[in-house]
Amino acid sequence: MTFAARRLLAAIPTLFGVTLIVFFMVRMLPGDPARLLAGLNASEDEVNHIRVQLGLTRPLPVQYEVFIANLVRGNLGTSTVTQAPVTYEVGVRLPATALLATTASVLSIALGVGSGILVSTRQYTGTDYLITVLALAGVSIPVFWLGLMLMITFAVALHVLPAGGDAGPRSLILPSIALAAFSLAIIERQTRSSMLETLRQDYVRTARAKGLAERVVIYRHALRNSLIPVVTVIGLQSATLLGGAILTERTFSWPGIGTLLVNAIQSRDYPIIQGVVLLFSLTFVIVNLIVDILYGYIDPRIKYG
């Protein structure tokens, strides 16, 4: 079996566990799950309809089977607030969240790896100290507070960028900077220490000794061998990014699924909570899978390890 296929199989128990938790979510709460899923204002008929539809009078394994069958068909129930299907509510907000999260990831990976390489070749210089202090601030600053401070500075005081909402590319700038900051700092730290370690290896000295250009030594010889821990950290950072997106969206009134989730928790809209939580975990599991498979390409030894 190939490396990728084995990793894919290993993700199945995790996904199974995630669906179990989301399944038990409403069934663990005190009260009638049918009423929780129908909403507080639903009529007796609607509650009964849901009870029959989800098989809530039948044993738990059967209920789980129904849950999975619905899930596979993309049926996650309807929002108790808007009465629209969960897939619709999530679907219309998904592009906004995807845009924000992707922009922030690209920003944090590009600037994080870039600045990490830069300072690793300039250890103990002014640039190195400056970036190190900035990275320390980056890993300590709460994403929502950074967002508010950026908003006060650039939107309220300077009037150069919009304070919130989603109105064109300009409104993407502040939220993606706020969301990227923490991951950027973590990736920079990892790249720096990983590069510094590789640059001390014998084969790097050999490469320099045989007269290769410094650029080739750094990018061809050192960088590739420094990448494994960096890729690991990038994979782990996708969790921070997804979680941080919820807070960032709230800060900037960004119309994504993070805002949807927070509103759903406040109005006890359980079908929506289930749908969003499921989507977030699924995304994270897939990202980690991709990272695992990437290892094999970066370092061929891992495939056979």
């Binding site: 128990p13 995790t14 996904l15 566990g17 995630v18 179990l20 938790i21 979510m25 663990m28 709460l29 250890q123 320390l136 601030a137 890993v139 300590s140 600053i141 709460p142 994403v143 929502f144 507070w145 508010l148 401070m149 908003m151 006060i152 309220v156 005081a157 304070a163 730290r189 720096r192 220490s193 510094l196 370690e197 690991t232 996708s238 969790a239 921070t240 997804l242 979680g243 941080g244 919820i246 807070l247 709230r250 800060t251 989730l261 927070v262 928790i265 406040q266 909570i273 939580v277 977030f280 975990s281 995304t283 994270f284 599991v285 980690n288 695992d292 290892y295 891992i302 390890g305």
Partner: protein, 298 residues
């Protein structure tokens, strides 16, 4: 993640055999100026939170409708909020709540995670497999989402915030302790303890647990900062400690509505969170370097 299989015969060479006297570690830590700075920030924060009743002239919950949204002045160095409450008092009193949440939540996480990790690593086999699959599932809820999901089930309030943040940090400890246990259980002295018929629980407590002390201390100092951050995030979303209790995240969440007119009410509570987390990070990095200077980030 790349799972590493423990190489049983070579494990002894990889394990750190040196003994570090606690005083030597503290001495090394005290020479690290950056770590000492973190420690000093924490001491000042803890003392001012503890003595808030003595050093603060205002009651943090006393509304004064004659002084609503006042810019910082000598009487109110951080300004006042939408109800005319003194922000400096609220930030200082808020330290009680945030530091309490951080420390107790990490206590819960370590209290659950350490024994589970010990058992998982020591026995291996089916027990280990089961525990690790459960951890995989918990870790599949990315970062902040696990605490958020738990709070959506438990409901808001101080106790539930502590429990949610605590439970969401359990996997970190389980993984960490399991790793150390895996390498320790193959050592000769554990083998001889087993040979003389020492019961498993005693081997775990006497011979394995002490090896986990250093990683637990290092991880916990970093983890308290993270717990404060998570709790503040919940508060910011309006899903944390209930108002009017002064909690930094909750204060920020309320401040959002007054951002256009009053920059200071969003600035100072956030600055407090930032400083607290940074102090724990500095101290944690310093403790890690003091335990094992070779691990120092170059």
């Amino acid at each position: 993640m790349v799972t590493s299989t423990p190489a049983l015969s070579t494990v002894e060479h990889r394990v750190e055999r040196e003994f570090h006297h606690p005083l030597a570690i503290i001495a090394r830590l005290s020479r690290n100026k950056i770590a000492v700075a973190g420690f000093v920030i924490l001491v000042v924060m803890t003392l001012s939170a503890a003595l808030a009743g003595v050093i603060m002239p205002y009651n943090p919950n006393a509304a004064d409708f004659n002084a609503v949204l006042h810019t910082p002045t000598f009487a109110h160095p951080f300004g006042t909020d939408q109800l005319g409450r003194d922000l400096l008092s609220r930030v200082v009193y808020g330290g009680r709540i945030s530091l309490l949440i951080g420390v107790v939540a990490v206590g819960i996480a370590a209290g659950v995670g350490v024994p589970v990790g010990l058992v998982s690593g020591f026995y291996g086999g089916t027990v280990d497999l089961l525990i690790q699959r459960v951890m995989d599932v918990m870790l599949a809820f990315p970062g902040f989402l696990l605490a958020l999901t738990l709070i959506s089930l438990l409901g808001v309030g101080l106790t539930n915030v502590i429990v949610s943040v605590g439970i969401s940090s359990v996997p970190v400890y389980v993984r960490l302790i399991r790793g150390v246990t895996l390498s320790t259980r193959e050592l000769t002295y554990v083998e001889s303890a087993r040979a003389v018929g020492m019961p498993d629980w005693r081997i775990m407590l006497r011979h394995v647990l002490p090896n986990t002390a250093a990683p637990i201390i290092v991880q916990s100092s970093l983890q308290v900062g993270l717990a404060i951050l998570t709790a503040a995030g919940l508060g910011f979303l309006g899903l944390g400690v209930r108002p009017p209790t002064p909690e930094w995240g909750t204060m920020l969440g309320e401040a959002v509505n007054y951002l256009l007119s009053s920059w200071y009410i969003a600035t100072f509570p956030g600055l407090a969170i930032f400083l607290a987390i940074m102090a724990f990070n500095l101290l944690g990095d310093g403790i890690r370097d003091a335990f094992d200077p070779r691990m120092k980030v170059l």
